[in-house]
Symmetry: D2
Subunit: 457 residues, 4 copies
């Protein structure tokens, strides 16, 4: 049988293409879906089925796009009123050549979540693999907080039951193919393993080893971060995103065009390094370094006003475009032609803010009264440790808490390495804060330099 | 952790690249090894270790090539006097970032075979994966016949013990990464699964379920086919193949150059379809269709006289070159410039032999006395079934048995689909047989057409 | 300035991308136009202008496609009522950075033909290049026969005047960029030069050196071949072809699907080599070898019933698709999955016809009365020479003359190398002729073998 | 005939591949020469001849590399004792299919310079193209200063005579294919035209229109810049550079490894943007922005100590490697793994210098006494204009003049856009200057902002 994992970096999203005897199915396709048709084409297979394990909330599903290109049928859980596709019910069975795909309803992450059990009858009637979407991850269980705090316990119980009653009994030797890998916002602690097995999880997955009651209790105490674009993705994936046909190729924009876009309220996305950004950028730009786009664009970018992208040398622009359209950002206006140097050449207005190294910070702290804003998540803040006196606000939640920050003090932003700090600093500056410093190297450098840290219990 | 399967089609060879925290290891690299350096490069990792699970006999190992490009150290079992690399012993342990690799000596297929157990301490001290080379395959156990019939039982026992005492006890949930997939000549019955688990094999692998005594008995009755190039590969992999630096790009040869090569005894490898070949080809050509090169070149091509390749349109020549150099064929002279049409345009001598469809064959059989030569393997001949009266000689072993064939009768060659039949027919013609017909569509067509077949018990 | 020639093989079509200071123009874009956007993108330029030198009749213009992707404006001659784009008039002037593009109306090939004179004011006010579409070619003048025999002299005079009065006076040193290269059906005798100069043409272009009267007289005696798809292209290019957005990726079709398509009247396009085709093919297939598709599909394929493509190994299918969509064939159903061998394996009906080498033909001619059908063009037939007694009908015009061929005789088809002969033979067979032989190697082989030829004055 | 221009950006180097009837020649190949073998391969041609128009001084010739891959013969002028290849003499003639290549000795740029006249006998005995190396450029004549000031007039006369007596008389319509395009250091004023003609040059090339005496006089007053690596290239191209076999893939280096290299005296090449560099970099780094590497590496990098490359995100590293090996830099140690952020994370020592915008500079100039160092070439300084009081030293010649700069003053470096200024500033800092500011946007921004400039006559 054909078996391919297609990983989308940044989102830590895994989709799967499986096939047998000329027929193929894709599970949870991403929106830039030519990779599936290419693999199927080379394998002389037609994609006939597309399965969504659930209505994804962290990216724009590619089902309609792929269906338009392949003619395949789309299937998803029956517990949501999807505008497109066909409903799946527990026990539904699909044949794909020698393969048999059996649907298990596994609610918990969402009500309509399903897992797909694969048996390869060419080899044996024993179950071989399970595609369990956002239910069981390597090293973790998917988050269950989407229905509000009052249903925390209920949903945690549901997912625990889905896993312990439907998945675990399949046997230790079944290969587990989850929809997300390490770094996904859909799980707090996913291991960096592409694949796992029921046996390995049974032994090593902390959430499984603590037992049902303990797990529910633990969950009730958690509040995972939820980027605002999740709402958008949910609506988008319920109704089906727009068909693209191909990856857009946004134009290179002259300074004149960009000024016009700015005048019309464009969002300026600066993907250069933090040190470049701090030293000079277009006023009101947001600093999201290149590789941070998949994870952080959804916290800060809107879907209406056009997005103008600023880079140093406009290298590999297609990556940026792919990442944005995976998040449903079809409002990309273009790239600054000639890169940021063109802005200087045009003698256009720039602004800047300070940066400093951890050594410099350490020295300043001896004498100055600085407001240290640590924008890492609370887990890092607590367990990796932080600078004495630092205030923690997660970078993604800064917009909600910005009114609590003191405008009259010098704010030093720190994160783990300096990238998220640049985003936070750019957001502060855009909102009228003028005395800001971003710490290059972040807490990693601070610790590497041997400076003192505090931890929370 | 980084985990990538690199499959070499045709050989059904799997190699693996694993990595953690900037360091990577490759297990059983192939000779055209730029794919490993590319993956490692993109992942910002340095390849530091190369492991050979055993001295491979079916392809040319890429360890020296990859070491030359990466500076990595090479390791292999201690039970053979390898000219290069360092010896491994049971229990040896390697750190690769968070990963721990533990060597298990697992003799049976060969004396020096090892398996590599991977534990990811980032996640758990439980074993996660095992790279078991040619020991345990998905659905099969590697062949154990290389040391002669007198040691059949001994080696079968050894591999059985290696698996049952060292691998099975690791637990059902361990992922099994074998060195070969379906279609490899290193196992008779490998399932078409890239990956498997100990649990899945324990339940479904027939060779494991029958028990030690039964397995040894079964093995004693088997005689797997062994292509002649295996000897060459063994010597090559003991001493280390020549370094290539890059995939060669053999020249396009004019008719004049080709005639000169023929005069000097060149081997003519015609990779066109069977129907093209039969209808006209250069005298003394061997017919091995494009996709058959990895599996059949080693049965028929020598390593000394130059190889001239004949195609229709010279499409994707790099594939052919890669497949040949993976088998150690560094004696490629070039391609016929302009494709086979150039040979006709040059008014050069061609020869041909007959083809017919199964319908035509069926009709001829009513009236003619034909010698039906079935060149499939004995398993297909017996269980899929054959035409009444057919004589079975496996295509690879035709050279040893050709003297038994009747020169005075019309020989009808049949295989499963017509490709291997073309190879057999070309070999017969090259050896003086003149009345030959290859059956297009082979036994597949015969059965699809509803004609009668016989089976052996 | 940016200057790139984009050649479309097979059609021998040249398009051009020029640019300066961030702005680019494309002249006569082809339909698969991502190559222009890619070049412009890498050069940090926006495509702002698209020029059509005339309403092309031999391929589907890519102007609308490129405009949809780039937002550029389309321009063409004013003497035709184009449904899209803007009219050009003699003397119109466009600025593209430092470049100045001046329109010269140069009727003759068509009424609305224009040439575009480029001056690079960065360097000099002297003219630098001229894009003269289908007016002046390297070594030839474009054909002028599209308006019927009664206007032959008029149009020949017009093109001669366009060239001699508007182009030649620009001076010997001006670089000439024509819309077609050697092999195009838009000129009978185009030299194999990508580029030329007015000076080189003035000295070496026979049509220019003979003078106006002589040229008109010569033209009056010519009847260039006109494939039937020209009418389609003319209508298509007047109204604008459908927008594709991307190169289609036609599916691999099972035998069942193909039989259904055949039942519905599909056109079977077999792109294998002549020797493969002759020895076995699906009944009613047309034989157009892979590289012959751009030049010969337009003679034989219709635009309504679906096209099924048959190949040996389905290599590089994208090339075939590109070639077909450049000719406006949006009716591609797909490829035979598994290649032609699948047809045999399925025990499906095949037919065949004979082939022979020139040596075999020579021998047969000593004793048999064969009807030799030479399907080369009349120029080759006359000047390269033919076999005594051969009847000449150009392969493209066979449909009009097939009723003149004797059904009761054995027809031997010959062309220059055997490819076009295969097309002719397949067409004869499809139309009920049963005794057909195609000569492999064609007249090239015949001459190479030293057999006698006759020439016409 | 096949005709392809292969341009190497940055060096503005043009090489050419021409071919006919299965044979191809390459003129002035670059060192990363797989592009030639690929083009020839696709065109079904064998590269049989390699011509060097002269011993190049600005890049490492790829003749030996290409000969090793293709088996072609190498030819160059007879007036230098090349260690490899065969000598060419005036009037030597080579056949390449239908093409005839005639050697014209055209000394002036160097003594052994030749031009290659191409006639295509398929079309006409008239000359069609000339490959004139570093003799006649589009819009310029090659520099003639390599033999010292005392031979300025002699060499200028020689090149003038070569062009006026041997090239011009070939006729206006001959296409001219020079070895360099705009931006090359081998000509001061080359037009941005890939190709030109004798006629166009005769009319528009200032150096030709002024007449012999005037030209010699003009040349006697010129002193073109000569990067120090020219000497190295000359020796290299006389003796033949080392064979690479493939583009090297330098490793990603950890901070530990880099510190070791630094300890051993490595050269640090920082290819980030000027604004990144100024705000923080490894002590003693040289700032050469990515696209500046081909033109400026040769001024500042040595051939002995290893080169460590520092980038933001290590995008497209192959480009950098190609550019360096074209200049003969085989001493690349590797890239900083993880990009420059890794340096901060490691809490390693960094240094910085100031930058400012032109607006800030303008304000500072009202009150401060700054030493303005303008590192553009003298032509730009004089004719585009400069800031009142600025001192001009060309960036490439800064090492020779650094002792004249005042260590006690604040030095403001300015160039045209800020990139070369960053290189100059980095060199100053490396040499102990501590008060340095680089002007972002350079004189382009200054002029765009409307600030006053002075010009020299």
């Amino acid at each position: 049988m054909l078996f391919e994992i297609i990983r989308s970096e940044g989102l830590s999203h895994n989709s799967y293409l499986i096939g047998s005897q000329g027929k193929a199915a894709v599970i949870d396709p991403r929106r830039d879906c030519e990779i599936y048709t290419e693999i199927a084409y080379r394998a002389d297979m037609a994609i006939t089925h597309i399965f969504e394990t659930h209505r994804n909330e962290d990216y724009c599903i590619g089902s309609l796009e792929l269906a338009a290109q392949s003619g395949a049928e789309i299937y998803h859980g029956s517990q949501l009123p999807f505008v497109y596709g066909r409903p799946l019910h527990d026990g539904d069975c699909f044949k794909l050549g020698n393969l048999e795909l059996t649907i298990l309803e596994t609610p918990g992450h969402t009500e309509e979540s399903v897992s797909i059990l694969l048996t390869d009858h060419e080899v044996s009637p024993e179950p071989y693999m399970i595609f369990c979407g956002d239910t069981l991850f390597a090293g973790d269980i998917a988050r269950t907080d989407f229905f509000g705090r009052e249903r925390y316990a209920e949903m945690a119980g549901k997912i625990y039951d889905s896993i312990s009653r439907k998945i675990i009994p399949l046997g230790d030797g079944v290969i587990v193919c989850p929809a997300h890998g390490a770094g996904s916002v859909c799980g707090g602690n996913i291991a960096d393993h592409s694949l796992t097995t029921i046996g390995y999880e049974r032994k090593t997955n902390h959430n499984l080893t603590i037992g049902r009651e303990e797990f529910i209790k633990k969950r009730s105490g958690e509040s995972p971060y939820t980027p605002p674009y999740f709402r958008r993705m949910e609506m988008c994936n319920l109704n089906g995103p727009a068909i693209l046909s191909q990856i857009p190729r946004p134009p290179h924009l002259s300074i004149g065009q960009i000024n016009e876009f700015i005048y019309q309220g464009a969002q300026l996305l600066d993907i250069r390094s933090p040190i470049s950004f701090a030293s000079g950028h277009i006023p009101d730009s947001l600093s999201i370094w290149r590789d941070g786009v998949p994870a952080f664009a959804g916290w800060y970018l809107g879907y209406d006003s056009p997005i103008v992208i600023i880079d140093d040398f406009n290298l590999d622009p297609e990556d940026i475009v792919r990442w944005l359209i995976r998040l449903g950002y079809d409002n990309i206006a273009g790239f600054l032609a000639g890169g940021f140097a063109a802005w200087f050449k045009g003698a256009q207005k720039t602004v800047s803010f300070g940066t400093c190294t951890v050594q410099q910070l350490y020295e300043r702290l001896q004498t100055e009264s600085l407001f240290i804003l640590d924008v890492r998540d609370i887990k890092n803040f607590s367990s990796v440790g932080h600078i004495n006196g630092a205030h923690q606000i997660y970078v993604g939640e800064l917009p909600q808490h910005i009114h609590n920050l003191p405008k009259n003090r010098w704010i030093v932003v720190i994160c783990d390495t300096g990238f998220k700090g640049s985003l936070a600093a750019s957001f502060l500056q855009k909102n009228g804060f003028s005395r800001i410093t971003n710490i290059l190297g972040g807490m990693t450098a601070w610790i590497n330099a041997g400076f003192p840290v505090e931890k929370l219990p």
